[in-house]
Chain length 472, copies 2
């Protein structure tokens, strides 16, 4: 027990979650689904006041926040449906095969148990969908894990308001007590304490590479290390081949501009790199993109820290690239970011580690390549990304294979049309990519499979019938 | 490129595997299955000379080694069948749903890509089944990953002989070139170099906690960290409740003695702890177990290092427990270990970290508890174990629930009958448990799901038909 008051508060919240786990791990599917649906109803019921608070704290627009709340409600209901349908994990059972091994074997049931209390580090950029009752929380609750949410300091009032709704739901049934707890505290201390807590079984995190890597190291340095599922930043390359520019180039430029600068570029899937072949068609496209960006209604960024990082990042891009297409200054006098667009040569991009670091905010680096092979090389220099978008790969030919193969090496989701922002909540979704976009690229933080992070396989061998009821 | 000759050899082997990966990741299911079946035939064809070499190098018996070779051949054929049946991964496809998000979404296909070159650290204790062509290798090859095997210094000649067979198979088709490479080198240097190699995508390891944790840290300290699937040691508690002793206690004692001391106790699932309720029935059982152990035909251990560790471990157990039932000395003059049996009180076991550390070899600590609740407490003090065996939990009552719930917190496989040694290769198998038994308890090193370690999910969105053929 810590002597620090903040840390004592963390201990108390975790202790309640530990008690909750003993009930929740064996709760019925109906109880779990009811809980998620009640949370959804609670959010929907308080829509207007919640969106108002979120607008004040995050500078994000009303439509965007309303849409995000709708998505968060959808996500809770989606997982409730999946819990009832038994679709979040699959058992495998093999009956006895008589005879000696290796062919013969006993009766085996492969099933899953929830890992325990999950620490969820809320994201700054999705104050609903990746915060108190967001994707990480719902995917853990759905499979029997209570959560302790580390509040993001960018939206503490909203976090408390959402938690008050959750508390109301928890108070309505004794079996729901303690399932969602909040931890606050300025600085890193309470977050570190949470990750080090011996009763915490797993961590999910969405945030910066520096912060995420630091916490990941702490999770690994424990006497008993625990899994740390971090989403740490992604530059989401968009490849545009000439055939995509032959017609509809203007519309594509407009869509890309909106994807780069929407919500002031503060999505984890905002495109940060555009890769094309040198030539007049690409030049025209870049001009259209610049025009499109200049029309984007950006707003202040989520926090002052993000604002400072963006200014520094754009300054770095300006220094490292051959020419900027960006208006100057990058932050206007009221602190609103102006979208930055920079152009560089493929070889320079491949050679410069700094050019490949994410600049969180509305900016994009255009990389001009000499050939499809060089486009593949540019992609491979990006070691990991949540998404890769490939426009104009219409035919089944070797140049396209090479580009797709490179995209498959680095990306978690490969799009052939549309923009990467906007991540569907589906059974098929995968939102995770090679390092540094995710600390563990085999897992997703969006979609049905996100619950797999919080389920551990176990096998029952030669078991009595009653044992089945102890694993849900 | 290193200037050290050993490390240059590592670089050369990895470089060949990287070239092989470009072919193998897109190889047909038929080609993959053919390769695994050819390896199986090659091993079977050379059975007698291979077993002879293995006997000389490992001191393991002829029957045991023959059985292990049979299992290794079975495993190769099993995975070949699964590859042909398409059973090692499951795609999920969601068609377009029209309308705005969150309900509307594009066409999405969740599929998988092989992670790349896998480094396999061979185990000392399974010179066939967890070495050059063992479980880690086959599970990687089956899903498109070439392997580089770090030879275990306990059986270098056998490793080279098995590799010669693999080389013959690789030479028979150009598309199989470079799929299995060997790395040797005394000391840790070449192993560390392999884990640090930028072209290695994942590591599997079976060995000691100290060695495994050191390599795991190195994998995490890379600029781009990679997954490290380590199996680091397990004490495999066996709980025996009175009802299991009412009849057949003698047979159970004999089976347990064989499980503890078979192959001189050098299985990862050898029971190291027996937990029962204080009383005359348990005393009788322990006497039968001691008698059974004294009849076990042990043999020299795998390596001199293991011999020394065993002697030190048994000395430690003798010092920490109240009474030993073990004959003295523990290693006879020719170096053959005598099974060690020790008895201690439950509270002392819970309080002593050292009593819970694995002693690799034929030894077992008997823990006497006052109640089923204390048995659960003893289990929970073991933070992670590959297996937990529960004898005598016949009825559906709260005392049994409590013990099973504790077992489910710490174990990967829970047996209600039989002994934990002997791990079936099936679709349902899970061979992995919480730390320290595995570095990642969500994955298994035996059974169909072991291939999941080497497959990364990717989603194709709004994709052309030809793109499907680039992911297998």
């Amino acid at each position: 027990m810590s002597t620090n008051l903040n840390l004592q508060a963390v201990d108390a919240v975790v202790a309640r979650a530990v008690l909750a786990f003993d009930r929740w791990k064996l709760a019925s599917a109906q109880s779990r689904a009811d809980f998620l649906n009640e949370l959804a109803h609670g959010l929907e019921w308080s829509r207007d006041p919640l969106v108002d608070i979120a607008m004040t704290e995050t500078s994000l627009g009303k439509d965007r926040l309303g849409g995000e709340l709708t998505r968060t409600v959808f996500q809770l209901k989606h997982f409730a449906d999946k819990v009832l349908a038994g679709r979040l994990s699959a058992d495998v059972e093999n009956e006895v095969v008589a005879g000696p091994p290796p062919a013969g074997h006993p009766h085996l049931l492969r099933t899953h148990v929830p890992v325990g209390v999950v620490a969820v580090f809320a994201a700054s950029n999705f104050p609903f969908a990746f915060s108190v009752l967001g994707g990480d929380t719902v995917s853990a609750l759905a499979v029997g894990c209570p959560v302790v949410v580390k509040v993001h300091p960018g939206h503490p009032r909203l976090s408390r308001a959402v938690q008050a709704i959750a508390q109301g739901v928890m108070d309505s049934r004794p079996e729901w007590e303690g399932l969602v707890g909040l931890v606050e505290g300025a600085g890193f201390e309470s977050g570190v304490h949470l990750v080090e807590h011996p009763q915490v079984a797993a961590v999910s995190f969405t945030g910066s590479l520096a912060g995420g890597r630091a916490l990941w190291k702490i999770a690994n340095a424990r006497e008993v290390p625990i899994p740390f599922y971090g989403e740490l930043g992604s530059i989401n390359p968009v490849v545009v081949l000439p055939s995509a520019l032959e017609q509809g180039g203007g519309e594509r430029a407009a869509a890309l501009a909106a994807s780069i600068a929407g919500s002031s570029g503060q999505f984890c899937t905002s495109p940060g790199v555009l890769i094309g072949l040198k030539g007049p068609a690409m030049d025209t496209f870049v001009q259209s993109l610049a025009a499109g960006l200049s029309q984007q209604a950006t707003h202040r960024m989520l926090t002052e820290g993000i604002e400072r990082s963006f200014a520094a990042g754009v300054e770095r891009l300006g220094r490292l690239t051959e020419r900027g297409v960006s208006p100057v200054p990058v932050l206007d006098p009221s602190g609103v970011p102006k979208p930055g667009l920079f152009v560089t040569d493929a070889q320079r991009f491949v050679d410069s580690h700094e050019l490949r670091e994410e600049v969180f905010g509305p900016s994009c680096v255009v990389v001009l390549a000499d050939s499809p092979a060089q486009i593949a090389e540019v992609l491979l220099s990006v070691t990991g990304s949540l998404t890769v978008t490939l426009w104009g790969l219409h035919g089944d030919d070797p140049a396209h294979h090479r580009i797709l193969d490179a995209a498959l090496r680095i990306g978690g989701r490969i799009l052939f049309d549309g923009v990467p922002t906007g991540v569907a909540v589906t059974e098929s979704q995968h939102h995770g990519g090679p390092w540094p976009s995710s600390t563990n690229a085999l897992f997703t933080s969006v979609g049905d499979a996100s619950s797999a992070r919080f389920l551990r396989p176990v096998v029952l061998q030669s078991f009595p019938a009653w044992a089945r009821a102890r694993v849900r």
